[in-house]
Amino acid sequence: MSWEIAISGFGGQGVLFIGRLLMEAGFAAGQEVSWLPYYSGEKRGGMCSCFVNISDERIGSIFITHPDIAVAMNPDAYAMLEPDVKPEGLLIVNESLIKEKSNRLDLKVIYVPMVELARELGDESVSNMIALGAILANAPVVTTSSIIKVLNQMMSKDSAQLEMNKAALLKGCEIS
């Protein structure tokens, strides 16, 4: 099984981070993985994308043009990704910022008000984790518990930050 995943949004929305979590969890599951950041010169506000391969075979292209799973975090990302998701693929749309609806009938499209959901939890900056939860609820790419394991390794134990990220991840799983 091979998963090609593209996540895109503004720099600062945590696009690279959730890509990193997916790659780490895939690696822990014994899969071949690659992670490629793609961004412009701005530190915040510019376009930022992340391409992740998780596969049981040797990985070819590290750049992904036809993802199985795509996450659009802002309108530019939606315009870039929506036409190119593979047929039968999964598209996660940040409904808080993207007003468009997809006409593609060959996709599973999930609209998630990521910013509002993150705000309900008390921290808008975890909208990326809501998106990751939405992926996990709709595609068996890696398990939620494997992502939590990676989070536990990356963030200091019992910190508010760790708990907030976990809560957002579970919320994303729940509502999608």
Binding site: M23, E24, W35, L36, G60, S61, I62, F63, T65
Partner: protein, 348 residues
């Protein structure tokens, strides 16, 4: 050790250098190789080795020149605009026969260009780059594993030939993360009977790139040329994929070779006979294997993120009888598997 670990491409170069016994690193920050320098800034002092952030790339390469003349393994890393600044120092080191490793994590030029990955320094890396008659073995990794492995090899080749050796990788590969198998550290470094180590009790040694006598200088160059000829014979490296019955051969290196692998897989689904020749050294270039494929009647697609710089080498290898097409991007834009597949589709 066969345990796999996740690592970034730039970090794998740094760790490969450490495993190879690199004793001193000098460099100046530039995207997209910054994490290499940053990683070295933490690791080298912790190991009791030298890390120094120079005031410029020009200073950095001259620090490498000085330190490497004492016989320790040295390196610097940079990206295209910085690599241009280092040409004078590299030319001096080639002339003085002082080994070092330089990693050029290419971004788009000319000038300040753009921070996107590119392969536009091909000619600069494969044709010497600075002034004078010299060449540098240029290794072109296509995976994070090779970023480590070829860096270790680069130190061996640098010492073997007493010549600067290049790692040339595009910024996309430098910034990507993949799983790799860690290598064992090099245990014994070669003796250097030419190094400046203090002349007490022995004849003095002089390292320079200058000959006062105009009659002596050509002799010195002839020795260098003989060395480059040995490289051409002994150091050509490449990987072939599905070449046995290939009718079309894609020639690609670095991250583009990875996209080509995907494109070839797509072509296979149509039962098209398409193979890949992936240079691992671009100086010396694998002219002979390409020429052999041309003899067999193959057609060629050169895929690269430049205006067509490697294309010239493929033309030299193949001649004018066989069809050769270029598929490329430039200016910091990745070349995708789709684009390579389309080129194959057009040629079929």
């Amino acid at each position: 050790m066969t345990e796999r670990t996740l690592m970034g491409g730039n970090i794998a170069i740094a760790e490969g250098a450490i495993l190879a016994g690199c004793g001193a690193y000098f460099g100046y920050p530039i995207t997209p190789q910054n994490d290499l320098l940053e990683h070295m800034s933490q690791r080298m002092p912790a190991l009791g080795r030298i890390f120094l952030q120079s005031e410029s790339e020009l200073a950095g390469i001259n620090m490498v020149y000085g330190a490497a003349a004492t016989g320790i393994r040295c390196m610097t890393s940079t990206s295209s605009p910085g690599f241009s600044l280092q040409q004078e120092g590299i030319s001096y080191m080639a002339g003085a026969e002082v080994p070092c490793v330089v990693a050029n994590i290419m971004r788009a030029g000319p000038g300040l260009g753009n921070i996107g990955g590119a392969q536009g320094d091909y000619k600069q890396c494969t044709r010497g780059g600075g002034h004078g008659d010299y060449y540098l073995i240029t290794l072109v990794p296509a995976s994070v594993q090779e970023m480590m492995d070829l860096t270790m090899l680069a130190f061996e080749l640098a010492d073997k030939y007493r010549n600067p050796t290049l790692i040339m990788a595009d910024g996309f590969l430098g910034q990507s993360v993949e799983s790799i198998v860690m290598r064992e550290p090099v245990k014994k470094l070669p003796d250097k009977n030419w190094a400046i180590t203090g002349a007490k009790g022995r004849e003095k040694r002089l390292i320079n790139s200058f000959e006062m006598n105009p009659l002596d200088h050509p002799k010195r160059i002839a020795l260098l040329l003989e060395k480059y000829e040995r490289m051409r014979i002994d150091e050509v490296r490449y990987e072939g994929m599905r070449l046995d019955d290939a009718e079309i051969v894609v020639v690609a290196y670095g991250s583009v070779a990875r996209a080509a692998m995907t494109a070839i897989k797509m072509a296979q689904q149509h039962n098209w006979k398409v193979g890949l020749l992936r240079p691992i050294t671009v100086f010396p270039f694998p002219y002979q294997p390409l020429s052999d494929l041309a003899e067999k009647g193959c057609k060629f697609i050169v895929a690269e993120m430049s205006s067509g710089q490697m294309l010239e080498d493929v033309r030299l290898a193949v001649g004018s009888q066989n069809e050769i097409k270029l598929v490329n991007t430039y200016g910091g834009v990745p070349l995708t598997a789709d684009q390579i597949f389309e080129a194959i589709d057009l040629m079929i």
